[in-house]
């Protein structure tokens, strides 16, 4: 699987009517280059992660968010993400988790094509924009301690 991903270098293309996506390259199971070149803001990233209508993360994940009730139990805790994987590996999972696990239930946060029956309000839009992706990554990278839940 990983070797296969390593061979795979995907450049995202888009048509003019769709939201303009920043092209990215997948190498060795990671996207090492920042999507924006602007360093992510971990505090903004945290806010996106806990926001139910925006990040949606806590529908499935738990994590070190003692103030948040009702965290989901469909996915591993986000605690310690930054010590388990590199920034580039996290970026690939955020951009499009199906590139890591084809069957994953985790939504692709930076993809707008190849989706079926998307409701009109959301058509041709990504779940998060490129800078929001970078903000979330900056936050996840900072989660080094996996003893906190």
């Amino acid at each position: 699987m990983w070797r296969l991903l390593g061979l795979l270098a995907v450049l995202v293309s888009f048509d003019a009517s769709a939201q303009t996506l920043v092209p990215y390259r997948i190498e060795n199971g990671a996207i090492t280059q920042s999507l924006t070149g602007v360093k992510g803001d971990a505090a903004k990233g945290r806010a996106i992660v806990v926001e139910r209508q925006k990040g949606l993360c806590l529908l499935c994940h738990s994590g070190p968010f003692p103030e948040e009730r009702f965290q989901g139990d469909l996915a591993p805790s986000l605690a310690g993400t930054g010590s388990r994987m590199s920034e580039g590996e996290i970026r690939l999972r955020m951009v499009d988790s199906t590139k890591v696990n084809e069957k994953t239930i985790m939504p692709p946060y930076y993809r707008s094509e190849g989706l079926e029956r998307v409701a009109a309000n959301y058509k041709a839009k990504t779940l998060l924009n490129a800078q929001e992706i970078e903000d979330v990554i900056a936050f996840l990278v900072s989660l080094k301690d996996d003893t906190q839940k």
């Binding site: 499935c60 989901g72 239930i105 939504p107 989706l115 079926e116 029956r117 409701a119």
Partner: protein, 253 residues
């Protein structure tokens, strides 16, 4: 189709008395208060709709000035088990028809009355009244080879990824049933309580309305009420739930 669900259906139909049935009604995922509300006819808000449906059943209407009862008589006899075997084939159109569609047909063609609205009060009450006559009876989909294509379409839709969130129904209701989506326990999506009173709706609603709820959660374009797709999903879920008991009118959170 999900292999587990397939196996479960096969076992459920072949050996109902012996097999350990892994299928659970949405009822089993509810708290004791909501369960008690469903079980007590005096507390179950869906029973008000059943009573309203009974009144409609006995009221002559339309150009024909006939009541449902004028043709069908005592519903406790004539409608017993009917809801447990829909969707069925409609001989005239040679396509699958759901129970609500059948009631619309009688209202329009036999009573010569205006077509009741899908999800409108009149149709929901009549559906609840007809459905109530099958309460506690096992779901018994028709052994009709002509429904195979409809069920296959429903199975394909059930496992198709849809919407901006790219979920399939099966990912939640087969792979993650029993887990929690935020606070909400994920049930197995059985169709055995409809129409039912949903506390979140504060009203009675159909199975197809429930599909639309899940689909808007997926940020997908929902299947219209009475559409081929919605009826196909319903036919697939009824077969998947074959042998499970009808609870109409159920209560859900």
């Amino acid at each position: 189709m999900n292999r587990l669900a397939c196996l479960v259906v096969v076992i459920g139909m072949a050996l109902p008395a012996f097999a350990q049935d892994a299928r659970k009604s949405g009822f089993d995922y509810m708290g004791p208060d909501t369960q008690a509300m469903q079980k007590d006819d005096l507390a179950n808000p869906g029973m008000l709709s059943v009573l309203e449906g009974e009144t409609l059943w006995n009221t002559p209407t339309g150009k024909a000035q006939k009541s449902c009862a004028a043709c069908h008589g005592d519903a406790t006899q004539s409608m017993k088990g009917v809801a447990a075997r829909y969707p069925a084939m409609d001989d005239k159109t040679q396509s699958a028809i759901d129970l609500a569609g059948r009631i619309i047909q009688c209202r329009v063609e036999r009573q010569e009355a205006p077509a009741p609205q899908r999800e409108g009060r009149e149709l929901l009450s009549l559906s609840a009244f007809v459905g109530r006559q099958s309460r506690d009876m096992p779901i018994s989909p028709p052994q009709d080879a002509k429904l195979a294509a409809t069920r296959a379409q429903g199975a394909a839709l059930y496992s198709a990824r849809m919407g901006q969130l790219n979920f399939s129904c099966a990912q939640c209701h087969d792979d993650n049933a029993g887990g929690h989506l935020g606070a909400a326990p994920i049930p197995q999506a059985h169709p055995n309580g409809y129409p039912l009173y949903r506390l979140e709706w504060q009203s009675l609603g159909s199975l197809q309305r429930r599909f639309r709820n899940c689909m808007s959660g997926m940020r997908a374009e929902p299947f219209a009420a009475g559409s081929t797709e919605a009826i196909a999903l319903e036919a697939f879920l009824m077969e998947r739930a074959a042998g499970m008991k009808l609870e109409t009118p159920a209560v859900r959170p």
